[in-house]
Subunit: 185 residues, 2 copies
DNA sequence: GCGTTAAAGCAAATATATTCACTTTAAGGT
DNA sequence: ACCTTAAAGTGAATATATTTGCTTTAACGC
């Protein structure tokens, strides 16, 4: 039988590879990260990385998804304003941090991505967002559509990061306010 | 003396290289485009490309900027709604077109870009936007800040393209409406 | 613990990108 | 037309990424 063996060494290689990839990405930019470099920094054999991930793009993508879920879990604070505010602030902080990879940069940098892959990666997040908005509605709050949140909260945050415009809590809060006002209007 | 010679052959090489780069980018994705491939398709020597642009990223970036300015000049239609609507619809159409490179994809894919380079590339566009909004104000119309246009018109369009969400004229129009309403509110 | 074998490591082969030293072509000034 | 030389081309050298075949290690089931 073919039994998987995700424990011990395998897990260690993955952790070391992801950490090396993250570090290299923030130090020298996503598109300068290569398999041999990751392998060297992680202290593992390049062959192991090629075998498991095929190419740098896939490795970076998996790393970024894992990090996204660990670092930016969708909040559940009891009110929608609180949830949105916390989430927006966290994203702003992450985009500012120079130890963090920008998830959307990775999404774009690893572009070969078929629409299936993209969907596979994004769908769970979208579900979490829907869940967050659903909870708000169950509490009797009025909540915007998920699409509106993407359009007027997430999109501006990432766009500003891409354009090199400053991002802070005040700005994040303003986006939340605009989003909720537009909805009631 | 060192006199430049941008005419004749030099211009032809540039045109052929840009066209080859565009075609390859839309066919196989930005990150699969290589110098040797561009050279082959363009029918020019790889050395010429390396000498002139240094690396693929710079070549793609220059190509994308040139295309952006040719394909999406900022409109001047006489009213702000008309300007914004036309612009938004053009961007939506460009993002849908499978013969067109997505400028922001390039901006991100060629990430090594220093903030100076980024500024250098984006500043002219920002000025054009400011000019467009300025014209509206001179006509006595009330116009949003350039930042708002970026946050609530440009950002959603590109974000939806990245996420693989559908983009059409109706959606573009809706964004324009929301933008102008939010402003007056 | 022990055996099986998934997954890592190693070394060498191959493919691909990039640079270098040099030659040829033709743009722009006279 | 003719010179000068910027810019393109050529072929070979080098560097770097990727693949391949084989060996070693150690995770998981008994």
């Amino acid at each position: 039988m073919s039994t998987r063996r995700p424990g011990g060494r395998t897990a260690i290689v993955k952790a070391k590879a992801f950490e090396a990839a993250r570090a290299l990405a923030v130090e020298q930019g996503l598109h300068n990260v290569t398999m041999p470099e990751i392998a060297k920094r992680a202290g593992v054999a390049p062959t192991s990385l090629y075998r498991r991930w095929g190419d740098v793009g896939s490795l970076l993508m998996e790393m970024a998804v894992e990090r996204l879920n660990e670092t930016f879990p969708l909040p559940d604070e009891g009110t929608l304003v609180a949830d949105l505010t916390l989430w927006a602030r966290r994203i702003a902080a992450g985009l500012n941090a120079d130890t963090e990879v920008n998830f959307f940069h990775v999404l774009l940098a690893t572009t070969a991505m078929s629409s299936e892959t993209r969907h596979h990666v994004l769908a769970p997040r979208l579900e979490q967002l829907d869940a967050m908005l659903g909870r708000a509605r169950l509490r009797g709050e009025s909540a915007p559509e998920a699409d509106s949140v993407i359009d007027h909260l997430i999109a501006p945050l990432y766009m500003r990061s891409v354009l090199g415009m400053p991002l802070d809590d005040r700005y994040a809060d303003k986006l939340v306010r605009t989003l909720l006002e537009t909805m009631t209007a």
